[in-house]
């Protein structure tokens, strides 16, 4: 016992102030360690089961969905607009979610345009959905509008185009929509599905139809390009290759 007492005594040469200081140091260091452990533990626990693989997401792979999980990584979304709100040029895409050429654009050309124009903050793209092909178009578009309320519309659009089925054969099933909703990080899939039939979305769809008429849209996909203060003009396209878009986008970017 006596030797135990000796062990806890400070060296005889250590001034009382230094002993108090060391005690404070130990307390502060211990407190810091506890704080970090608690913060990391809460972070890990509160994130587990959510987007532990965050951006668009490998769950798309495990849910059997086609699509590039990293396509939209790092690109902001606001409603139906993809890209920085400060981008000087806006490209509007009129598309039907059942239209095969729209799917071709989405899977073949869009990735290039994202890298060249959207990610650098030069161009933002606004999706305006039309539903003239049939019932699957309307059902899919309502879900996209519901996802737009959570700023995840483009993730849903991308997955729907990547997993597009035959026109009007009922491919937009509840099961597909649930898997799409579950595959997107930051999206409450159940909320998206329950909000899909809101009357507001019918009004939004009518408004997009009116805008399509104003812009002279006769088929999908149709694209317009506009710069702030300049009215939009349709892009004349010989093909859906990225090269066909560059002249119009580059011209709009040139003041």
């Amino acid at each position: 016992m006596a030797s135990g007492k000796k062990r806890v005594q400070a060296p005889s040469g250590t001034p009382p102030g230094r002993r108090a200081s060391r005690r404070t140091l130990l307390l502060a260091g211990g407190g810091a360690a506890v704080v970090v452990v608690v913060l990391v533990a809460v972070s890990v626990l509160s994130s587990s089961g959510k987007d532990s693989q965050p951006p668009l997401v490998t769950t798309a792979e495990t849910s059997g969905l086609a699509g590039d999980p990293k396509l939209l990584d790092g690109i902001p979304q606001h409603g139906l607009v993809l890209g920085s709100p400060k981008a000087p040029v806006t490209m509007v895409e009129y598309a039907d979610l059942q239209c095969p050429y729209c799917a071709e654009f989405a899977t073949g050309t869009l990735p290039t345009l994202l890298d060249e124009y959207v990610r650098p903050g030069k161009v933002k793209i606004e999706f305006r959905g039309l539903a003239f092909v049939g019932d699957d178009s309307r059902k899919a578009l309502r879900v996209v509008l519901a996802a737009a309320e959570q700023n995840r519309a483009w993730n849903v659009i991308d997955l729907l185009f990547a997993n597009q089925g035959e026109e009007n054969k009922g491919w937009v099933t509840d099961d597909l929509l649930r898997r799409v909703g579950g595959a997107i990080a930051g999206l409450d899939g159940a909320k998206m599905l329950s909000n899909a039939d809101k009357p507001l979305h019918e009004e939004q769809m009518r408004e997009m139809d009116r805008e399509a008429q104003t812009d002279g849209v006769r088929g999908t996909p149709t694209f317009t390009v506009a710069r702030a203060g300049v009215p939009p003009g349709q892009i004349s396209l010989a093909s859906l290759d990225a090269a066909a878009f560059r002249p119009a986008l580059d011209a709009a970017l040139t003041p």
Binding site: L25, A28, A32, V42, S43, K70, D73, P120, G121
Partner: protein, 138 residues
């Protein structure tokens, strides 16, 4: 470096950190894009990931509270407040490193504002620990 200069540096760093954390908190609650992100929208991805909040509180708000506390402790300036400020800033740095690893390895996006905060946290931890060690000598 004099203690007065170190104290001013700690206060300035805490203010800079509070400004960054305050901006990120404002962006979080405003639901707006994190402007001036130098990494092509990575700020948005990081801010919207599930790691951006702890028990419903944005981590940027926790950072703001920590910087405010360090600022208050620097104003008090007693031996114990120096120790607590050093402990708090080291804890903040360690948590910032954890968040940086998440950005690189899990979220796969880098938020330039967060990296700026990490730099402030690193220098602040060094300054507060140095202040504590210097006061410990006398």
């Amino acid at each position: 470096m004099s203690d007065r200069a170190l104290r001013l540096a700690v206060a300035a760093l805490a203010l800079a950190g509070a400004a960054i954390a305050g901006y990120l908190t404002w962006a979080w609650y405003g639901g707006d894009t994190v402007g001036l992100c130098l990494t092509g929208g990575g700020c948005e991805t990081v801010q919207r990931s599930s790691y951006a909040k702890l028990a419903g509180i944005p981590v940027s708000a926790l950072g703001l509270a920590a910087y405010a506390a360090i600022l208050g402790l620097t104003a008090l300036d007693g031996p114990q407040s120096r120790a607590v400020a050093a402990g708090l800033s080291v804890a903040g740095l360690a948590f910032s490193v954890y968040l940086l690893v998440l950005q690189l390895a899990v979220i796969d996006a880098i938020c330039s504002w967060c990296v700026g905060n990490d730099a402030v946290a690193l220098v602040l931890a060094g300054a507060t620990v140095l202040r504590f060690r210097l006061s410990d000598r006398f």
